[in-house]
Symmetry: D2
Subunit: 212 residues, 4 copies
């Protein structure tokens, strides 16, 4: 069975968990849209290294699609990202202590890459299922965007047959108990991403049949 690779990040900034990984591992092993199996991997919240581990996972898993998940504390909706931009700019250090300011990710790369996932259809399907979702036009400039850009750069340069993109999720309710911040239960986040993956699977068509 062909695979969709879904990644989440390890916790950062003192949090005990990261909802992106909680969602990814909840979906691990599920069959999506009849033909695809979800393979889940956890990435470090570290500039550069997350992208390297992602590329290794792609080479190993050989997925038809890659959907990276990340935490966007403060957001109210599940938000497929439209675009990854060629910049690293950190307000807080990553988990390796790096704090780049206005540095390019790929000095010779383009300014940005659009997601190649069907983000509009994903949002419509999630809303249709009662999950708050909208398209986001910025993935920020922290490790999420960094990983998203490195994914799209790798696909463009070395693996044009696969599609890829990024979805930000809000805090899980457990994280927001003592914060003045919006949140959704893990079950809602999982249901939202599962719905989005079904749309991805549908866009891919039957497994094993490359789209031309």
């Amino acid at each position: 069975m062909d695979a969709i690779l879904v990644t989440g990040f390890e916790p950062f900034q003192g949090e005990a968990l990261n909802p992106s990984w909680e969602v990814a591992r909840s979906l691990a092993g599920e069959t999506v849209g009849v033909h695809y199996r979800v393979i889940a991997r956890r990435l470090p919240t570290v500039y550069g290294r997350a992208g390297e581990e992602l590329v290794s996972a792609i080479r190993e898993v050989k997925p038809r699609a890659v959907v990276c998940l990340g935490e966007a504390g403060g957001r109210t909706h599940v938000t497929p990202e439209r675009i990854a931009i060629n910049i690293m700019d950190a307000r807080i250090p990553d988990n390796a202590g790096q704090k780049p300011i206005d540095e390019p990710i790929a000095p010779d790369g383009p300014a940005a890459y659009f997601s190649t996932l069907p983000i509009r259809a994903m949002v419509e399907a999630m809303c249709g299922a009662g999950i708050p979702a909208h398209i986001s036009n910025t993935a920020g400039t922290f490790v999420c965007n960094d990983t998203f850009y490195r994914l799209m750069h790798f696909i463009a340069e070395e693996s044009p047959g696969i599609i890829g993109g990024f979805i930000h999720v809000p805090y899980m309710t457990e994280q927001a108990l003592h914060k003045q911040a919006p949140s959704l239960p893990l079950t809602t986040l999982v249901a939202g991403v599962r719905t989005a993956l079904a749309v991805v699977a549908s866009a891919l068509g039957p497994a094993g049949v490359p789209k031309c």
Copy 2:
């Protein structure tokens, strides 16, 4: 079996539903804390009239406790209210077209009444159950506060043996799909209020045994 009266409001401001009533009717008929049955009633989103219907329901149901629920669009947490204030001040008309500005609810009543529900314990129980909750210090000046004040005024004047208060709930996810607003699923709101009612029941003690 003794009763806890739980109320919700009808929809207003063009909404198709009101999460406060969806929660109340979800809990209708449940047994809370061994000894109490939830009786649910829907109130009109109308200044004065909601309070009148509430008082009629109290006279009919003879509950040991009254917990009114209301919608607080924009909030992120389930929020037991601390205090009801003696003012009506509307930014939008109520469902009967009334739009009072800075008018007292009870010209001879006190400035405010504190909730007599165990709001701190309710919040702690909800957080312990993974439901985002905190105490709110303002129920606003619309029909929610109006009903809350009329409830506490009635209890103080005519029915000192019962306890009462108000809980605001955020939008349900269904309402927030096309809004930039936080929300929680109905199941989460119901679980939160159920947890809060268990604390209310516990504070009441065994049914049929008035606390002195």
Copy 3:
């Protein structure tokens, strides 16, 4: 010349300044509405002690009106407060390290006092002058509300001839440079409070002539 006493607070929570005191001292010595002189005092950000120092200042200055100012970080508008409530409930320690939870300010006092300032007219005058302003229905439960309640309690018990209330102001721009928070320049805050004081003076009528 009769006096209007205007107070601000010292900085707290690591801030270098408190806009409420910056506004108060900017207005110190000004003549408001022909007949009144502004006397400014700085209060400690300490539960109880602020109210004590305020009462001492009232006894010394013998003002016709008292307008306490406080900082409300995160607000966008200048906000005259409608009501003070009889509770102390701190999320952070005050400047003396006190952190009361759900304690009454005055165990025998009423649940709340309404401001006796002409808050609606103050807001309308500020908006008319191009200053963002609206009425607030909660002064919180920290030292601001505590001082406001103690002010109104003192007036009710011992000095019914004077009027009093509270105005919260947003961050000054200097404070928000590195925060994701709204702010207004000090000049705007000063212009707003000056406009509000003119309405207070107008409500008092000519100095030296008690209103009956």
Copy 4:
């Protein structure tokens, strides 16, 4: 004297004014950084047409730098934009009734262009002057981003000797009186953009001397 072209937009969505144009026209004719004169132009809030009028103005004025200004209601800070993206996606119609969904601006253009203004230095200078400012990573997908992208596309294709970019400004206080939204006075917005333009002028170096 060489020119810096500064543009603002006409009002939209029922507003009576647009702070971006109020700022631009306030600065019109000023000398910036000794060597440059500000030329101000107002653009229509219309996809495509704004960019066309901007290009016409560039051809006529022959500026050394172009700084487009736009309104970002809800923002708290003056925000130089980092990047323009190749997409039109409207939640509300523009002033000509157009409401494109997910359409490219330039079908053969790159996914995005980075601003060529010294945005980091502009932000630091504004903060140093007490003006709330930070870099923004999304100019949205409405007419502001459209115009910004068309500007950068024109510069890249036809006029590589000039630098250009975009700055979003919050609501002016006059607009926010009856909204629950942050704002800054026009004088603050003008002071902020003037400070930013001085940094632009400094980056350009002496007028008439092309940088190589």
